[in-house]
Subunit: 148 residues, 2 copies
Amino acid sequence: MQSYSTKQRKLLLSYLAAHADEELAADVISRDLSHEGVSVSAVYRNLAALEADGKIQKVTKSGTRRAFYRFSDAAECRRHIHLYCTECGKTYHADVPTTDYVADRIESASGFEVDRSKTVIRGVCRECGKAADTTANAKKTVNNGSGT
Amino acid sequence: MQSYSTKQRKLLLSYLAAHADEELAADVISRDLSHEGVSVSAVYRNLAALEADGKIQKVTKSGTRRAFYRFSDAAECRRHIHLYCTECGKTYHADVPTTDYVADRIESASGFEVDRSKTVIRGVCRECGKAADTTANAKKTVNNGSGT
DNA sequence: TTGCGTGCAAAGGTTTTGCATGGCA
DNA sequence: TGCCATGCAAAACCTTTGCACGCAA
């Protein structure tokens, strides 16, 4: 299947690049791009294509019905695992040595080949962890849901 | 908020327990449970509550519009990271030492506190990796999408 | 008895699609 | 020129909700 480089496609791509590592809702992207003449369907269609292509990831958030899309620069990001802070929503990059270390360890232990580009580790970043510690004085239990 | 133990709730819980680590669509759960008198709304409402409670996770899959839910036994699973094979859809458990190793490494390198119960590492399991290798003789490129 | 949970069906919001037209190569 | 991509609006779909009733505690 051929693929043309249309104005809409370019705009979407540059929008995504400008918002790398953020989790974006389709309607937000759509709204921001509508000024420049990109229709909702174009956004959805391109988003779907990019996702099928592995260039962006679709994620779900609790409490809302819509899907969110996350883009990261391929060359830059293929190498390392992402750390997503469930408190502030920011995404961090684990450094390459750490990533390699982690991936190797898992691969040698389980024979499981880690796909760095698709793996997102969830947890709490340093900043939010600090904040929580402070709060913890008053309220000891911070984030101890049960879970899997 | 009080919480009653209803027939539907029990059925859903035991259904989830019987399908631990699988990624289940709400309508599938609903269909399977409808025989025993659990309505769609009950399924959704309970699923939402369980998710808000951190007991199950909601995930998105590419190519479909619906949400999938994954349950794992809390006591058993809180300790280790999950490895989700994007080829066959199975979820594996990294052993506890490996999990600790990985989590510690990330925590010490980035100050990022890993939430084991919410982290799912994506990649290809040993079985599927083997299968791919065999195929690779004919077709060298196996799964090299770009990505983040 | 109190009030949470359920079922049903209607409402809701997000995402997908059909069709005619526009634009890239 | 040939075909992919876009726009628009309607359709589809999954999920959520309102309301009255049932049931756990």
